[in-house]
Amino acid sequence: MTDDNYLLECINNVTTDIHRYFITVHLTLGMKHYLDNNLECRFIAAERTLKNANDQSKEIDPDLIFQYENGTKGILGEIKSSLSHNELNVKNNVFEQLRKYDQDVIGWDSSDNLVENHDILHLIHMLDSDWYISVYNKYEGSEIKLQKDYCIVEFTDLTSVKAGQGDIILVRYKYGTLGCDSLLTKFKENLHIEIDSLSNNYERLKFTRKRPPLAYLMDKLWFFIFTSFGRYNIDSDSFDVKLSEIIKIVQDYYYPWAGIEGENSQLRESWIKEALDMFVKINLAERIGTTAEQYRIHLRKKNLPNDMGKYIIEKICKKFIEEHPRKMIDAQTSLDNFKMESVKSKEDT
């Protein structure tokens, strides 16, 4: 593969990751929006950490937590907006995660933080759902054996039913069962999440608990956070800012979905630091000072193109290729390696 193709592949993959993350946030908002108006099954949280009931050192972070039957039963939901079609990856990561979800966990919305039982819900992007179900069926009973009820639904990109009827994300039943009958029925009937209804919430809730793609996070920092400092230095093309000041703005404007102990925003400090380091690597920022973590951000650097979103993605990919000399591997594997650093700290979350 030539360097140009390699770069192009990387750009396409990063762009897809951003799109998928964008959809994931909207899907999470949509499920919350739907369940907030559903009496039987309640939306509890989007980003809560629960602990294994038998070993509290083991934690899980499902994307969605619902409770039903007056809160006595629960559902742990996991959104898979992007699955590389690699069986080994499914066996090592997805099944491993399912096994963790298949244990009794503590942290539910009840007086003793427990529920009688819970189900597991997988929401999988429609491009991956059939493939994943075939892999699951292949290994079910041998590699993976679940005690809890398990249900798979698939979701679409933002789409349209037809002109004039509004635009939706479609969520529909694919496999298994759920204890919450009304939700299961709704999935079987096709759940339509109207996108218009999510518009304002997305402006405040741009991140789930899942680590965002680096380019997505850098885009948000560049447009929404850095600009709020730049205006105090209107005559200059750069400004200096401390990491603590950036975190303060993030906490004020991108506060968590629900009150979570010990967390003050949708973003982790380590993610922000990683994004700032990448801004330094691609010459849009520089580190200054020796004590406090302080950066000079070149927000109005000369000769930058208007399309900064595209520019940031290209620069990240070029940097990746520079730091990872071309090998005889396909682009998806390369990107997986590239994302490895992210995945590594995903375990931290």
């Binding site: 635009d167 209804s197 304002n200 560049w222 208007n306 900064m308 979103g309 940031i312």
Partner: protein, 356 residues
């Protein structure tokens, strides 16, 4: 006419009016015609703002003197000279300020207006804002003017625009009641960008355009006061509508978006979505990023480098655009961007967007 009486009054003392008339007469004697009145929004005293921004005008020389000043109005005479690469511009104008609206009165040519007056206004942005009126506003003005003056108004020619701000090549040199021009434009999904109007007896003869420039071809300055009052009212209204939308000013830092509804589901067409993104890419002094583009949706972030305003532009529904101001977004930036859309995409109304 009830509406006309509710329009804001313009404080123009007799002495100021005399000064303006004297200026116009002297220009007429020089053979210069017609008078153009350019309306601008000025968030402070126009003269003070000019003095504050003088450093930016390294290629311009101003001579000015205030003729008269009251509590709410002021009249200042300017001579402006600007060096261009190939030639030099020089002319005079009056700046009559009433509250936050400034009327620039001049008999200068088009080049001076574009490279002198508008250049000066752009340099003073965001404190001075070039605003706009819509095709619908022009129609409303003519309706008011006709019933107030009790003279039927006829159009002589029009410049019409279509989707993506393209000029309709068939410039109309017809003669008919002005309403016919608007009705015909509507039928053809066009809108009037500029229209030349006269009364049957030719007592009134003038031109109105969406960029808020009024050209007086016949009649006295005072004859057209109703038009200036209407433009004043529209500009103030627009300024207030776009104000205080930054998240930093709202309870819980919530958002206060605006919506531009269209009559049809435009964005189902891929070419329209792509061309719309191209219109955004040509918005002067901006950075943007396209977070999502599907069918019929798109989601774009825009950073206005002139004053660090940021907003998102998205179409979740195929027949509208939602603009959501972020942490800090000025009224000037929202006005500049919506003017860009109305000029280069399509004219529409602008309303509050409620939602979750």
């Amino acid at each position: 006419m009830a509406f006309a009486s509710s329009l804001p009054n313009i404080d123009l003392p007799f002495s100021m009016e005399m000064a303006i008339n004297y200026y116009i007469e002297s220009k007429l004697t020089e053979g210069k015609m017609p008078i153009k009145i350019i309306s601008l929004i000025s968030t402070d005293s126009f003269v003070h703002l000019l003095e504050e921004n003088m450093m930016k005008f390294y290629d311009v020389k101003f001579d000015y003197s205030t003729i008269e000043e009251t509590k709410t109005a002021s009249l200042t005479r300017f001579r402006m000279k600007r060096k261009l690469p190939v030639n030099e511009l020089e002319d005079t104008f009056f700046a009559y300020q009433n509250g936050n609206i400034v009327f620039i009165i001049t008999c200068a040519d088009k080049l001076f207006i574009n490279s002198g007056i508008f250049y000066m206004a752009k340099k003073m942005y965001p404190k001075v804002i070039i605003s706009y009126i819509t095709s619908k506003d022009i129609e409303n003005i003519l309706e008011l003017f006709e019933s107030s003056k009790k003279h039927d108004l006829f159009y002589r020619n029009t410049v019409r625009k279509k989707l993506f701000g393209k000029k309709e090549t068939d410039i109309k040199y017809k003669y008919g009641h002005y309403k016919e021009a608007f009705n015909e434009a509507r039928l053809n999904e066009l809108w009037i960008d500029r229209i030349e109007i006269s009364s049957k007896d030719e007592k009134f003869h003038f031109e109105l355009s969406r960029d808020g420039v009024v050209k007086i071809l016949k009649g006295l300055f005072r004859d057209y006061f109703l038009i200036f009052r209407y433009i004043s009212y529209k500009y103030k209204d627009k300024f207030d509508f776009f104000s205080n939308r930054s998240r930093e000013y709202t309870p819980d830092y919530s958002v206060r978006p605006i919506k531009l509804p269209f009559e049809s589901s435009l964005f189902y067409e891929k070419t329209i979505r792509e061309q719309f993104i191209e219109v955004i890419s040509k918005y002067p002094h901006c950075n943007y990023s396209v977070n999502y583009i599907g069918n019929p949706h798109f989601h774009v972030n825009i950073f206005d480098k002139l004053d660090y305003s940021v907003f998102t532009v998205k179409s979740y529904s195929s027949d509208s655009i939602i603009i959501t101001p972020q942490i800090s977004t000025t009224e000037a930036s929202l006005m500049r961007f919506t003017k860009h859309l109305l000029d280069n995409f399509r004219e529409t109304s602008i309303v509050n967007f409620e939602g979750n």
